[in-house]
Symmetry: C2
Subunit: 164 residues, 2 copies
């Protein structure tokens, strides 16, 4: 993998090229995950700019599309979002007419969430933009590295799920 | 790598095991990076709890330790932090007596940053905690996967640096 990634044109080591000494940080996964996530989100924002959509909003729309009728609590659990952070995300999507809440007869405090017709059309456009974004990321790191990293990231993320 | 990771006991696929359908999200690197980063940071917070230190504060202390005399602007650039987000981080570290600012004769608007003696002692304890945290992460994903992911993450992070 090493040679292949270098050949993709993105292989220069940030630590070696940089004027800064990162000390122990350069060997810490959390630090590098954060830097990589910021870099990938930067491309996400560039691609999604025309839709005025943030990553968390896209995730929520996709979850509701793929699981119609989920409650707020279930979506928070599925995405690992804290409820206080989720409320403004949902409010914004509802204000734009993409999501509707239906009351749940069995539990008055809970709502089942669905996409509106406008929301369904909108999320289809977002999926096309997301596919474009993903192709750009694959071009950066190479298809083999892209595949390789997924399994490790899923392991990291799922070990977190187990702790909840 | 696949078999090895599964054998590490963390291999169950979150998507397959979950009651939720994640649709396209489960194949999007940005989404998985964010989930993995949150999972790793959760362990960071558990290990660093006794020090009352957040990841960004630890990064700043380490940068100043390894590059004494850097300016605020240089640290922001090195860590990819926006200056408005950096100011409260630095203020908190200064209030706790870990960082001191020295005026720069050549530029009155700029300060050179150094660790105090207390800051140097403190960051050494933090490095020991960080090493413990990293060992826990390696136990989760396996040493081979841990090595493999670093190169890909560095490529992703450095491609972002190039855009700045």
């Amino acid at each position: 993998m090493r040679k292949r990634d270098r050949d993709s044109g993105q292989g220069a080591d940030a630590g070696a090229r940089s004027a800064f000494n990162y000390g122990p940080l350069q060997n810490q996964l959390g630090y590098l995950l954060r830097r990589a996530q910021i870099a990938v989100f930067r491309d996400f924002f560039a691609v999604f700019d025309e839709f005025d959509i943030r990553p968390a909003q896209y995730s929520v729309l996709t979850l509701i599309e793929c699981n119609p009728g989920l409650s707020q609590t279930e979506i928070c659990k599925a995405l690992g979002i804290q409820k206080p952070n989720f409320v403004p995300v949902l409010d914004a999507l509802e204000a734009r007419g993409f999501v509707r809440r239906a009351s749940t007869p069995s539990d008055r405090r809970s709502y089942a969430l669905f996409l509106t017709a406008a929301g369904q059309n909108f999320v289809r456009k977002l999926h096309r933009a997301a596919a474009k974004h993903e192709r750009r990321i694959i071009e950066r790191v190479g298809v083999h590295a892209h595949d390789c990293i997924f399994e490790v990231l899923r392991n990291l993320a799922s070990s977190s799920d187990e702790e909840r």
